[in-house]
Assembly symmetry: C2
């Protein structure tokens, strides 16, 4: 299936890469996984894949444009499958849930600002942090991520 994507990226189609791709695809709700998250998921699936490989594969995927790496405030990097559409993020400080959004107005004004300051923008990152109002969000003060 998505072995094609790997080929196109100049990467051999191997089990670790397919598995990791699969995990990134299947995580519908919280599609923003750290290397550790993915590693643990692999262990749970009885896959014998090392953490170093997870990092290597994710780095390669990033270089190939398959995934994007984000640095949220907690330090640990999270990876997200690229679906072509650009979007920004809003992170719940209580439950760690991540929502995505696009606001064309924000995008426009960003470009205007960049132009005014004489910058040729190559990339940008907008992340808002706050408290969501979902019923299942535990307001425990400290964030507890991964489901």
């Amino acid at each position: 299936m998505e072995g094609k994507d790997l080929r196109k990226a100049g990467l051999k189609v191997t089990l670790p890469r397919l598995k990791i791709l699969e995990i990134l695809e299947s995580s519908d709700t919280a599609r923003h996984l750290s290397a550790e998250d993915i590693y643990r998921t692999l262990l749970d699936s009885n896959e014998d894949i090392g953490l170093a490989t997870v990092y290597r594969v994710l780095t390669q995927f990033e270089a190939a444009g398959l995934v994007t790496r984000h640095h949220f405030e907690d330090g640990m990097a999270v990876f997200e499958l690229n679906q072509g559409t650009h979007h920004d993020h809003i992170v719940c400080l209580d439950c760690g849930r991540v929502e995505e959004f696009v606001d064309s107005g924000i995008e426009e004004r960003q470009n205007a600002v960049a132009q005014r300051l004489g910058f040729a923008i190559r990339d940008h990152s907008l992340i808002m942090y706050g408290h969501c109002r979902r019923a299942d969000c535990p307001h425990r003060g400290k964030s507890n991520k991964n489901s």
Copy 2:
């Protein structure tokens, strides 16, 4: 002078803290320093202050609201003296220069988005990365910071 700020923050007025505060204040152009930057500046001033202390002091300053910690893409954290006014950042990928800006339109739309998604925003971070067009900016591919 700013010993007051320290007192108000519940921190004893010590040489390391004053010196670090001073360094953060005096860096007019590139006011976004990493712990290492500050440490080296201290060494250059023949101050005998350990790197661990720099980190401890900066962390305390952050907790006290005196400085803000930013995580730009290169991983290393940078610290900026808080001057009350909120602003976002645009970073040059070539020379590492950081410009600050505020766009009320962006702020407004951010709030609108947050409200629409049911989030109570506590904080946000908008950073743009690009190439500036300054004469003294070396387009050397890799970023070379500190003056």
